[in-house]
């Protein structure tokens, strides 16, 4: 502990509290001068200030900084697009879904989008009780409007809104609903006749696009 003769205590205390900002040169001029004057006459505090430099260097150098992750950015964009589609832009965070759920939903959507091909092939032969694809068709995001030219679409996580627009442009496609928690959109292909042949042709064309992970028809019965 500090010697009683080196007090007044308040001055030591005040200087000790300011030392970290003294060594990084982030004090107001009057505070800096106060510390400087004190250190000139107090060996103990001056030694503490010297040690503070070592601590500063240690903190600054002791941890590596990772590089930005493309996957992380893709997940963020997907999360934002989900918000854009499901709700109009809101300036306040209070209107957002609970953070924890939002994070899990985004993570789930990204995970499903990245690994969708195999599960879809598997599930095609074993739908739910009503034949619907339960993994991709949550009730809130896959309401079928009765139009015969609506399709369910899942895109890669890093597809920009502009690219999505260009993908749908040949069919005058508009997003009717979604994405759901699995990243699936319901899209109406307005220029496609609502018959099997025209729709099959449009779906085949969409599936040839690299960005399209899943494109399937939605039948009025709920079966693809």
């Amino acid at each position: 502990m500090i010697e009683a003769t080196e007090r007044p205590c308040d001055e030591h205390e005040g200087v000790q509290l300011l030392l970290p900002w003294y060594v990084i040169d982030r004090l107001e001029e009057d505070e800096r001068e106060r510390v400087r004057e004190h250190l000139a006459g107090c060996g103990r505090c001056a030694a503490a200030a010297e040690a503070e430099f070592g601590l500063r260097d240690l903190v600054a150098a002791s941890q590596a900084s990772p590089q930005p992750s493309d996957l992380g950015l893709a997940r963020l964009k997907q999360r934002i697009r989900q918000e854009r589609v499901s709700a109009p832009p809101q300036p306040s965070v209070s209107s957002a879904p609970p953070r924890r759920w939002a994070g899990r939903r985004a993570a789930l959507a990204a995970a499903v989008a990245l690994a969708i091909a195999a599960p879809v092939a598997f599930m095609a032969g074993r739908g739910g009780p009503d034949g619907a694809y339960r993994t991709l068709a949550s009730p809130s995001a896959t309401r079928y409007s009765g139009q015969g030219n609506e399709v369910r679409l899942v895109l890669r996580a890093n597809v920009s809104p502009e690219r999505m627009t260009s993908l749908l442009e040949p069919y005058a496609g508009v997003v009717v609903d979604g994405p759901n928690s699995a990243g699936a959109y319901i899209v109406r292909l307005r220029s496609v006749e609502p018959n099997d042949e025209a729709l099959r042709s449009a779906l085949e064309s969409l599936r040839r696009q690299d960005e399209v992970l899943l494109a399937e028809a939605i039948a009025p019965t709920g079966r693809p």
Binding site: H12, L55, A60, P89, P91
Partner: protein
């Protein structure tokens, strides 16, 4: 004396607010630029606070999502980095809550055991001495120390970022240094323990 601030953020505060204004207009490209600019900084800050690498990306994603949501309604009263780091601080503390305070990271446990033994021979022989030392601090103390010594923020800015009184910032730093005194000789090459002078009320 040399000011810290190796983050490189200080010189581009105006540009950052310009990006944030564009984000408020719904510009995804601006968000991507801000994300790439802050990713490493935020990861480091979150990792320092939480000491859980698995939390970093999730928290950074949360932070940038909040920036996206709040950008249109935020007034640039502080530096952009101060605002963003403040959001990151809150999210990091929430991440710790989610993971449970009883699930102490392995490094934390090791550090506490080593500190309890006062066996400096063991301490000196460890290569991650600094990390073990920081494990002795509370998340709030680690946040302040990082904001001071890595970001070079004045205590006034830290008080804004952490939404607490300036004196709280000073005393958190003071007590952090006190907790580190067991490591002080090895950390700094000094025999004097900073903060050993007198008590300061938190």
């Amino acid at each position: 004396m040399t000011a810290v601030g190796e983050t490189g953020l200080r010189d581009d505060e105006t540009a950052d607010w310009a990006l944030i204004r564009r984000i408020g207009d719904g510009d995804e490209a601006a968000l991507e630029r801000l994300y790439k600019r802050y990713y490493a900084i935020l990861c480091r800050f979150v990792l320092r606070i939480t000491r859980r690498p698995e939390c970093c990306e999730e928290v950074v994603n949360d932070v940038m999502y909040i920036v996206w949501q709040k950008a249109a309604a935020t007034t640039p009263l502080s530096r952009a980095s101060t605002w963003i780091l403040g959001i990151a601080h809150k999210r990091a503390l929430k991440a710790i809550e989610r993971h449970g305070r009883d699930s102490i990271a392995v490094n934390d446990r090791e550090a506490l055991e080593l500190a309890a033994t006062d066996d400096m021979t063991d301490l000196v022989s460890t290569t991650s001495l600094a990390e073990k030392a920081f494990a002795l601090l509370t998340p709030e103390q680690r946040a302040v120390m990082e904001l001071v010594y890595y970001h070079g923020l004045p205590y006034q800015d830290i008080a804004v970022a952490l939404e607490c009184p300036e004196n709280t910032v000073k005393t958190r730093m003071f007590h952090a240094r006190k907790r580190l005194r067991v490591f002080w000789p090895e950390l700094t090459g000094q025999v004097v323990a900073a903060g050993d002078a007198q008590e300061v009320d938190a």
